[in-house]
């Protein structure tokens, strides 16, 4: 029996990026309105697949993240009921109305803002993970139906904003939590540059990362790549990325680095050799620093195969910093 599945959708709601995306100078301009109607169709397809499928929608807004829809609340919130209509299936209509209304409300709140802070994608991702965790571990005493506890959960991120290198550590932590919860993270880059961190998120959780090339075929991309639940992906192949950018951000300046220097004790990453690790306060011998500094330019940047595992400290009595190749 195929099981029900849960989808947490994270929509990147950066007004400036969406403005850029709608510019007619783009090869395939995609306005937010069109985007939203296609996403709603996709959400309906997800609920259509099975009666028990659940859904949560999160918005990553500039400076805040918020929950736009959750099928757990759907039953109780009868106050803002859309009028009944014999021409449409009610759950679909319900999702569409609530999501559109909440997005409009959040965007209206942004009106007064003069400067746009970066979108808090990590906040939304964390909220989604917490939500899935709550589904997987219902509080004792509540009537836990088996369908919710067994459900396959996955997260789909529709991203338009560029990478925020400051959020490297939170993103990695979210990825590890997702791995632990066995949640697949899918990423669709709708507009803008490729993002390094989201590529890694999809790769490490077994999801698929797609850079949207033909934006006029957005719905078809969504349906074919992101609609199949993880359980049937071994039969219906979904595209995976063939190369993954594994670069990390350094802990000192939050820059994405090609060559990093890794503390041999706590594995913190730095963009240049430092005498004292800022995380664990380990002091490194002067000699090592000099050696590393001297060897820096000689390391060819293309030689990035090993992912920088430092020697264990016990192997060498004198602690030192090791150069990490990405």
């Amino acid at each position: 029996m195929d099981r029900s599945c849960h989808l947490s959708l994270i929509i990147d709601l950066s007004p400036s990026q969406w403005h850029l995306s709608a510019q007619p100078t783009n090869p395939h301009p995609l306005s937010f309105q069109t985007f939203l109607s296609l996403v709603l169709t996709f959400l309906n397809s997800h609920i259509a697949a099975k009666h028990e499928n659940t859904l949560a929608v999160f918005g990553a807004l500039p400076g805040k993240s918020t929950m736009l829809y959750s099928s757990l609340d759907a039953d109780s919130s009868n106050t803002n009921d859309p009028p009944a209509d014999a021409n449409s299936y009610r759950p679909f209509k319900f999702v569409n109305t609530i999501v559109t209304k909440n997005i409009q409300k959040e965007l209206d709140l942004l009106e007064g803002l003069t400067e746009e802070p970066p979108v808090t994608l990590v906040g939304a991702l964390t909220m989604a993970l917490c939500y899935i965790n709550r589904l997987a571990h219902p509080p004792p005493g509540s009537v836990a139906t088996e369908t919710t506890t067994e459900a396959d959960a996955r997260i789909l991120i529709l991203s338009v904003s560029p990478d925020l290198s400051a959020s490297y550590i939170p993103v990695m932590n979210s990825i590890f939590s997702a791995q632990k919860l066995r949640v697949t993270i899918d990423v669709c880059k709708v507009y803008g540059e490729e993002t390094v961190f989201l590529q890694q998120a999809a790769h490490l959780t077994g999801g698929s990362y797609i850079y949207l090339e033909r934006r006029d075929a957005f719905l078809q991309y969504l349906t074919m790549s992101f609609l199949p639940p993880p359980s049937i992906r071994h039969m219906m192949a979904v595209p995976r990325q063939d190369k993954v950018d594994f670069r990390a951000a350094c802990f000192c300046h939050k820059n994405i680095v090609d060559i990093g220097f890794v503390c041999s004790v706590c594995l913190s990453i730095f963009c240049s050799p430092v005498p004292v690790c800022s995380t664990c306060r380990t002091k490194f011998p002067m000699k090592t620093l000099q050696r590393l500094n001297a060897s820096r330019p000689s390391i060819p940047p293309a030689n990035g195969v090993s992912n920088g595992s430092p020697r264990p400290p016990s192997a060498r009595p004198s602690q030192g910093m090791s150069a990490s190749l990405r």
Partner: protein, 467 residues
């Protein structure tokens, strides 16, 4: 001997719903008529398996059909057979247009209705017209609907289980009785309706399977009653997309569908204030038709905290059932010898006699075990394996006891003229794999009935050719 539950499990594995084979037997014209309503497409789509659903979705937004090779490049090697099966099923349901070997495309009727269902809009009015809210008479609460559905359904089951035991439970309506009889679940015996062996098996199924079994029989009788099958099906599907606890108007229904209201009221699928009422409410039985959620409200038997499971089975064959539900007690009575009954507890034991009685009624060991597994108490779920192995094995052994002799029809071949003749024919029979028993010393062997024509022909050819 494949048991009924075994089949059901198999079907679930391939996730083939019981209704789909029935739909496959329908003509293309009636299916196309059915697909014209968005509210029918959506439930049918939900009854399909995961791969089929994905295929339909992949094709839904394409304007023209695409080469099959393009689609199959999305399928991994392991999924190939699944994919072919899916294509086959979808073609037989006429969801895909006919020539799947070269091109894939959804049939126009299905495509446009499914699109309408997903995006909303249109003027099909197929998802049920909600009744105007009435200030004087409020819509029934969900609890009231649940209680109603449960009462209706249990009346049917209880009538079945206690037929022939001398008790006189409440009789379901004539329509239901007729349906049970036609389905072979009950039969007339000395002027009285008696439960049959398939009826006993029916009792141990899950409510969802029971409901569909009855509805399928209902669908099969539709033609005899001069009703339009498409109308009936689309009404059932419409019910499954309706919302629990909401009242709908009967105004847009056709005459056939109005006639169905009465039948479905008897089964507990819908609730009406009175027979002439112009509004109706679907119950949980109806709204969960196309889902795998429990169709009947749980936790009604002992009130509150308990979930579905209520049976504790110990390694010493003792069974404690925390229930005060007469139906569940009666079902347990089929294969448990009950020792004592308390207000909320039934204590009994599984004995050789009680199991043999069940086996004589046509219930199989697998069905007993699967019933015990389904309704095991939450405390039991901590055990691994869930049921004590000794008890499971013993129930199976008791079943085997009854199957010591296996009868097989066939022919005995004797009086061969020579050993060579005998061996020559025997070899031929062995090649056909029809030899059931042989004795070289007596020069005779026993072949099954299927092989007889061949062997006889072979011998005749040989004797005819030789002499």
């Amino acid at each position: 001997m494949p048991s009924a539950t075994g089949k059901a499990e198999e079907q679930q594995e391939r996730s083939l719903h019981a209704l789909l084979p029935f739909l496959q037997t329908q003509s293309q014209t009636s299916l196309t008529r059915l697909y014209q309503r968005p509210s029918s497409c959506l439930p049918i789509f939900r009854l399909l398996g995961a791969v089929e659903r994905q295929l339909v979705m992949n094709l839904l937004w394409l304007e023209s059909s695409i080469p099959t090779a393009t689609m199959s490049s999305w399928v991994t090697k392991e999924g190939k057979t699944h994919f072919d099966d899916a294509l086959d099923l979808l073609t037989r349901l006429h969801i895909l247009t006919n020539n799947v070997t070269t091109k894939l495309g959804l049939s126009p009727a299905f495509k446009s209705s499914m699109r309408q269902a997903i995006t909303g809009g249109g003027t099909s009015v197929s998802f049920g017209v909600p009744a105007e809210s009435d200030d004087k008479r409020h819509a029934p609460s969900i609890d009231a609907l649940d209680a109603y559905a449960l009462e209706r359904w249990e009346t049917i089951l209880h009538y079945m289980v206690s037929s022939g035991t001398g008790q006189m439970p409440v009789k379901p309506s004539q329509g239901v009785l007729f349906l049970l009889q036609r389905n072979g679940l009950m039969a007339m015996n000395q002027g009285q309706l008696q439960i049959t062996s398939s009826g006993f098996q029916f009792l141990l199924h899950t409510p969802h399977a029971q409901l569909w079994e009855l509805l399928l029989q209902y669908l099969q009788m539709v033609e005899e009653r001069q009703m339009d099958l498409v109308e009936v099906l689309s009404f059932l599907f419409m019910l499954s997309t309706m919302e629990l606890g909401r009242e709908y108007s009967t105004e847009n229904l056709s005459d056939t569908q109005r006639a169905m209201l009465e039948d479905l009221r008897d089964y507990g699928l819908i609730w009406q204030r009175k027979a002439s009422s112009r509004r109706f409410s679907p119950t949980r039985l109806a709204t969960t038709l196309t889902s795998s959620l429990p169709p009947l409200p749980t936790a009604t038997n002992t009130g509150g905290a308990q979930e579905q499971g209520f049976i504790v089975l110990e390694t010493n064959y003792r069974l404690y059932a925390y229930t005060d539900n007469p139906l569940q007690t009666a079902v347990l009575n089929l294969f448990v010898s009950v020792r004592s009954r308390f207000p909320n507890l039934v204590v009994g034991a599984i004995t050789r006699e009680s199991v043999r009685k069940a086996l004589l009624n046509g219930i199989t060991a697998d069905q007993i075990i699967s019933y015990l597994t389904t309704y095991a108490h939450p405390q039991m779920r901590k055990n691994k394996p869930l049921l004590p192995v000794t008890v499971q094995d013993q129930i199976r052994l008791w079943e085997l006891e009854r199957n010591r002799i296996k009868a097989q029809e066939g022919f005995l071949y004797t009086a061969f003229a020579s050993q060579a003749d005998y061996e020559y024919v025997l070899n031929y029979a062995r090649q056909l794999d029809v030899v059931l028993w042989e004795n070289t010393a007596k020069r005779c062997f026993f072949g099954s009935v299927e092989g007889h024509a061949n062997i006889r022909g072979f011998i005749e050819r040989r004797t005819g050719g030789g002499g």
